[in-house]
Amino acid sequence: MSWTSDELMTVNAARALAGARTCFVGIGLPSAAANLARRTIEPGLVLIYESGTLGSKPSRLPLSIGDGELADTADAVVSVPEIFNYWLQAGRIDVGFLGAAQVDRYANINTTVIDRGPGRPEGRLPGAGGAPEIAASCGKVLMVLRHSRRNMVERLDFVTTVGHGSGPGDRARLGLPGAGPVAVITDLGVLRPDPDTAELVLTELHPGVSVEQVCEATGWKLRVAPDVGVTGPPTSMELAALRELSDRGASDA
């Protein structure tokens, strides 16, 4: 059986949701992962979208966070202010699942602007969306993005969303209640914050990926766990579920 690197990423992102009860699903790749988790490892996972749906059970991947099926299949639909104030901010959500344009070694995120160098205008990214408060208030945060030196950078051009700030203790100092990012899942492997330094460390490679490849694709000098592991290959069931989902909708929801 063969698979693409995007499939490896999504399957592993879904696996990271094992044990989660509720997930605030950010726009982008997270929606594919969270929907796959509901079909595989965590069938009871409650999907929460910032468009106001609690407990959506879409039959296909939504193209946008406002697809009608998210509302039609939800346990409850609430207003956007309510979803942010009563549900997210109140700390009721176990996992926040985010994509990102730029990530640094402390899992901080930039989705606002790209510095293109002196004399050139800033490049525009979509903006913050729900991310700053998702990352602040969920019990923990998962991130999923494609691995490249453009995405995994030495220094963010702008801090839209705080992961671990400038290191240990920063979240507490800033008054961010959740534990923050616990894993960054890419198409090459999985990075996790070192418990002592909060710096992202390569802890797992996807099958067939080398440490050198990952270091090469990372914009900072990436630390590698001494006992770096290899993620289990996608099972046929995982792939079948993912492909069924993707056939029915967009893969980059």
């Binding site: 202010p81 104030n85 979509p126 913050a128």
Partner: protein, 269 residues
């Protein structure tokens, strides 16, 4: 009390050059038909407010209707960038676009404060983010009971809010359901409220999940069937995902964009 007008009359009566205009609808019920009428009437110098600018504001911005954008996420959902928005911000085409940029939680609470006629709202937000440094409408406030410092965001009170809804009755009561987003707050925050609807009915039979805006909280209603296209109206139309994908190549190029707008908006209606 809401007046039932044609879309042309309603836009002419309620939207003025230089206004702060919120067109809301969180993916669902986006008032495209009204936006197109604003473009056709050449109303400009607008401050556009919207959590998720989306294709609707890409069109207004690309046609030069906006001098400023107040927002929290500006992309083509599920597709990619908004090219006209980026061109305006990055290159000042067709005119420079001032930005006031928030998170979703911040924007949602700005509308809540506006609807409540409070000057600001409080939230746990923006902590450690660079966003407050770029926005004069983000500050802090201290809890008088606990001493905790929290984020404060300034209320948004648009001159006009425009929304699309499923239907209204003849008395001008408006009913919308499905994803109701931030429309109630955006409408109640505004001085003037324009609602486009799929249809006018004799009576609004109650619907699960429906929000009703009484006639006396709305200023003008215009019938605009399929008025949310390419967005959708739950119970009436479905989202035109193909259009969102098609918008990417249309909007990448200035001339292609202008030709499309000419053919489908300016010379339509």
């Amino acid at each position: 009390m809401a007046e039932i007008l044609s879309l042309r009359e309603a836009v002419a009566a309620l939207v003025r050059p230089g206004d702060t205009v919120a067109m809301e609808g969180f993916t669902h019920l986006i008032p495209f038909a009204a936006a197109h009428e604003v473009i056709r009437q050449g109303i400009t110098d607008l401050t556009l407010v919207r959590m998720t600018p989306d294709v609707i504001y890409d069109q207004l911005i690309g046609m030069g209707a906006a001098r400023k954008l107040v927002f929290s996420w500006g992309g083509n959902p599920g597709v990619g960038s908004l090219h006209r928005f980026r061109d305006a911000v990055e290159n000042g085409w067709p005119r420079p676009l001032e930005l006031d940029e928030h998170s979703h939680a911040g924007m949602a609470n700005r509308y809540v404060a506006g609807a409540s006629r409070l000057p600001f709202a409080v939230l746990r937000g923006y902590r450690g983010s660079d966003l407050p440094g770029r926005s004069p409408t983000i500050s802090t406030v201290r809890c008088p009971f606990t001493g905790e410092e929290l984020a404060a965001v300034a209320a948004v009170n648009p001159n006009v809010t425009v929304i699309h809804a499923q239907r209204a009755d003849r008395a001008g009561n408006v009913q919308l359901w499905g994803l109701v987003g931030v429309q109630k707050e955006a409408a109640l925050a505004a001085e003037r409220v324009l609602v486009t609807v799929e249809e006018i009915v004799d009576a609004l039979d109650p619907r699960p999940g429906a929000v009703v805006l009484p006639s006396w909280s709305v200023h003008a209603i215009a019938v605009a069937p399929n008025g949310a296209h390419p967005s959708y109206t739950a119970g009436y139309t479905v989202r035109d995902n193909d259009f969102y994908q098609a918008w990417d190549p249309i909007s990448r190029d200035r001339d292609t964009f202008l030709a499309w707008m000419r053919a489908h908006v300016l010379e339509a209606a």
